[in-house]
């Protein structure tokens, strides 16, 4: 591969954001943050990007509640969620493993997922670690469900899942993931071995496309500068 894994992931996420007007990115999310900035660069600044926790690349002025009020009105087009566990129905678990509440492992908590997953049209699931302990048949705790019954108000949900090894799309009718591409250095068999849930795939699974020279120049130039303020350690490591 001619670029770093982080750069590949940034370039794979960005096309999913191309049609957005407004992208929000949660805290501790350098790769999604960089992908949102790349989409913004490629849109000639038509797209608005808000990085939570950043004081410069952030237009909110009404406190932490404003993002949720905007999402409730449909003013946010894309957001990113992850999970300690993610299952084949796109349920996500940010709370812990084992029996709730005294879970064997306790993670931080559900944050805004139990709301934003329902209300933001394009939720991109992102988790760099691609292993059977993350991608499980059934999550131990549903912080936010991938699907809701038809009577529940739901305009948002998962569009795709991007990991350190592969990219999947999500079909909300079938309630299943489909393998879209495998990153350089991995095989379809690697993906099957590292994924604890069943998924669909075409007969021929392509390799994930590496960023072209123009995209890499944007990532290493303006994008790197725009996220350096919020993620100095990440920027130094990837863009040194």
């Amino acid at each position: 591969m001619t670029c770093k894994t982080e750069e590949l992931l940034i370039s794979l996420i960005a096309p999913h954001l191309a049609e957005c007007r407004h992208i929000c990115v949660g805290v501790s999310s350098p790769i999604p943050g960089a992908a949102a900035q790349l989409a913004r660069c490629k849109s000639n600044d038509r797209i608005v990007v808000n990085l939570l926790g950043d004081f410069r690349h952030n237009s909110f002025t009404s406190g932490g509640q404003e993002i949720f009020d905007m999402a409730g009105q449909g003013r946010i087009d894309a957001f990113f969620l992850g999970g300690g566990q993610i299952d084949g129905q796109a349920n996500i678990n940010l709370v812990g493993t084992g029996t709730y509440p005294q879970t064997d492992v306790r993670w931080s908590g559900s944050f805004g997922s139990a709301y934003l997953y329902y209300l933001v049209p394009n939720v991109i699931l992102f988790r760099e670690e691609h292993s059977p302990r993350v991608f499980v048949p059934k999550v131990d705790f549903v912080s936010a469900p991938g699907l809701s019954p038809p009577e529940h108000h739901r305009v948002g949900g998962p569009k795709c899942l991007i990991t350190g090894k592969a990219e999947f799309s999500f079909d909300p009718i079938a309630g299943r993931f489909t393998l879209v591409s495998v990153h350089p250095g991995y095989t379809v068999d690697d993906i099957v071995q590292s994924t604890g849930f069943d998924f669909d795939m075409p007969d021929d699974v392509p390799q994930s496309k590496e960023p072209d020279a123009e995209t890499l120049a944007l990532i290493r130039g303006p994008v790197a500068e725009q996220i350096r303020g919020l993620y100095p350690v990440f920027a130094d490591k990837v863009f040194a």
Binding site: V27, G64, G72, P101, R106, G109, S110, F111, G112, V142
Partner: protein
């Protein structure tokens, strides 16, 4: 109208009763770290902690120092320094009661509190295990839905904390507090029965004297007492005034994983020296 009191940090925290509902705001917005250290020194017990909407260093410290009986939170973590070890351990052992929430539910319930409403509806959340484990939340059918349409909506009881503990950049000598764009400080103060504030500095300028400053100000109508605490959010950040002390948070994250090391941490950084000496000790 009440007169805002000006106190030392140790005096301020005597106004936080044992067993009360205490609200504190997320790290890097308004984390009252020095006030929390003073609370631990005073030996507060049985707190019902509400994190607005998430918790970090001060929450983990309070939980680890056995000051907390229950916590309502959307998440407690040390962000890039990893999980909050004392929180995780206390939840796993059952030492504290956990009420898992989601960020907009905390905000909405406080907004109901500031309006004096008994409850507030919120979209989303239905069908999650977050909702299933909250028997204090209810679901009703939207009474305004079109005829015949079923539209279940979550209802949250209003939250009115007994005490809100806030750290801000500055206050004036009249008790008005500068919140700037961190308007959730105002939301929490409006909802709480008592608001206690630590600030980096107390200025002579009247923040209510011009519209420009008044627009970013929590007026003294809501402020019960103020104490000056320079670097009061340390080791977490405060808005764009100062960032996180990464070296110290790393040190904390490591210490908090081990019972004895956490006890040593409390002795070295909480029970004794004032904050300036502590910053030097890890510099």
């Amino acid at each position: 109208m009440q007169q805002t009191k000006f106190l030392s940090v140790d005096e301020l925290v005597t106004m936080v009763p044992d067993d009360c509902n205490l609200a504190i705001i997320k790290d890097d917005s308004s984390a009252p770290s020095e006030a929390v250290r003073a609370l631990i020194r005073r030996g507060v017990k049985g707190l019902h902690l509400l994190t607005v909407p998430t918790g970090g260093y001060p929450s983990d410290l309070l939980i680890g120092a056995d000051c907390v009986a229950s916590v309502e939170t959307s998440g407690v973590s040390l962000a890039e320094f990893g999980p909050a070890p004392r929180f995780g351990k206390a939840v796993k052992s059952g030492k504290i009661v956990i009420r898992d929430a989601t960020c907009p539910a905390v905000y909405a319930a406080l907004q109901a509190g500031e309006k004096g409403l008994p409850f507030i509806p919120l979209r989303g959340v239905l069908g999650s295990d977050v909702a299933k484990n909250r028997d204090d939340w209810k679901v009703i059918d939207n009474p305004f839905a079109k005829d015949g349409d079923s539209d279940p909506v979550l209802l949250l009881a209003a939250i009115r904390p007994d005490v809100a503990l806030i750290h801000a950049e500055k206050a004036d000598r009249f008790g008005n507090v500068w919140v700037g764009r961190e308007k959730e400080m105002a939301t929490v103060a409006h909802a709480a029965h008592c608001t206690l504030v630590t600030v980096e500095e107390i200025v002579d300028e009247d923040l209510m004297a011009s519209t420009t400053t008044a627009a970013g100000t929590l007026s003294n109508m809501y402020v019960d007492a103020i104490a000056q605490a320079k670097n009061g959010a340390w080791p977490v950040g405060l808005g764009d005034l100062y960032g996180r002390d990464g070296a110290h948070l790393q040190l904390y994250a490591a210490a908090a994983r081990d019972d004895d090391a956490f006890e040593d941490y409390l002795q070295q950084f909480v029970m004794t020296a004032p904050v300036a000496d502590k910053i030097k000790a890890t510099a």
